[in-house]
Symmetry: C2
Amino acid sequence: MAIIIVCTGLVPERYDRALRALAPERDIRLWPDHGAKEDAHYALAWNPPAGELAEYENLRVIFSAGAGVEHLLGDPALPDLPIVRLVDANLTIRMGEYVVLHVLLHHRRMLEYTELQRAKTWRLLSQPAAEEVRVGILGLGELGADSARKLSQLGFQVAGWSRSKKEIAGIESFAGEAELDAFLARTDILVALLPLTPATTGVLDRALLAKLARDGALPGPVLINAGRGGLQVEADILSALDDGALWAASLDVFESEPLPAASPLWAHPRVVVTPHNASISEGPAVAAYMLEQIAAFEAGDPLTNLVDQKRSY
Amino acid sequence: MAIIIVCTGLVPERYDRALRALAPERDIRLWPDHGAKEDAHYALAWNPPAGELAEYENLRVIFSAGAGVEHLLGDPALPDLPIVRLVDANLTIRMGEYVVLHVLLHHRRMLEYTELQRAKTWRLLSQPAAEEVRVGILGLGELGADSARKLSQLGFQVAGWSRSKKEIAGIESFAGEAELDAFLARTDILVALLPLTPATTGVLDRALLAKLARDGALPGPVLINAGRGGLQVEADILSALDDGALWAASLDVFESEPLPAASPLWAHPRVVVTPHNASISEGPAVAAYMLEQIAAFEAGDPLTNLVDQKRSY
């Protein structure tokens, strides 16, 4: 009943350390040192090599090391097993930090103030109050709902868009394709938190950005993408920034990661680039969550936060 | 029963416009066009020239255009009249925006990420969760209590220090000189929101900064001063930054404003300079507040938010 950790693109040692510390009795293995593959009953995976998970013939449950699972579903040989998404209070808090920080950073015009500081220039810029600014959360799941609440507590007008209608106090809810345009038309700062699915790939394109509010209290619309890089069309974002359709952007995720040095996003004066750091789970939190689910599973209780493979999240 | 607006160092025309719009029947005058001085019954003042207010012999109430009143109390000829402090929901919301933005900015290590972006370098920095970081609000009045609550909702460990003990859910309260050192010793990010009084002048000095927590989850202690410039000793802040006693600072206020171009604070890589923009009241909010109080006063009802001249705030 070994646990195999198969992660690429992040630091899997922290999960290895945390699992060993919390469950010293368990057999924990860190890919590529997998030992006898038939021993593994549980996998903790992030962006595993295609076909790798299929080779563990006694695998029973796959745990995603993040909230998203597109890194698993892209594997055509993915075994037909229950997949558990990571739901971590810490992950939610970290995402809330990122979203609130970047909304405030653009709301308070910090890119311009940073330039003014560099020029040693003392100048007040006009500044709407939070209540005059409309934030729209595209993707009103666990993370989106939490960020929406926090922004609402800061005084912003907050709405969310999701596949199905949500009931969250103080947050206007838009749902489905039919209400997307109305949602965008009332949004000054758009925060993308959608999962990456075939339906959401490339959704942040020229056509969508052109539908954001043009009459807001800020100099122009702002995009914050803390979801997945595959949601965005970077060429469209750059052209929208350059012709004023977009005023500014904070991007934590990119079409290709790490963001290539040749990307014009790095040096764009109206773009904040962060290295996919919006919400990274700590080893102990992931390990505790996984061990709790394994204990339930071995006691015959149901797993929670299972992925609906038809909806891809 | 004219209203005289006597403001220097900000843009008083917005108060003039807003008062005229809201009370077209009133006689509103904008210093230095004061007309017959005996007509003025009410003054809206910000940093008035010393002795000026004493010349309006029929003055009955002085309204401060900001939350602080040190700009009035420094006038040795200040008439012995009721002074009303500005308490404005909008002011509180704006201060909350500033404090939350700058706490998150340092918590999420944005000064370093901005440097990394400039160098086109994709690198993750270690990142404590909000719950591992202790914010201390020095000055737990109306503005401080609101910021404390908002930071607590984001997951930070928040404490406040004030002259007298406060009861705020989820916020640890320290009070008086005797508890100041204990408050500082548990603080990773210090937010100064004290009023400027003889007792608080220069309080943010080398000795105080040296008492901040050295064992925090961030690389070092952070100072955010959104109170008054007179609270801080800039030479001490610079030397603390340079020898590592302080890791970083956001300063909205300065010993001398505008901050002189010669100040090393402008170009310091660990200092964010903003031009005293943390919380600026809009004209309509100030005008509405003042007219409401005048209406109450003329109806024989008591004024609210009166300044205690003995305590200087």
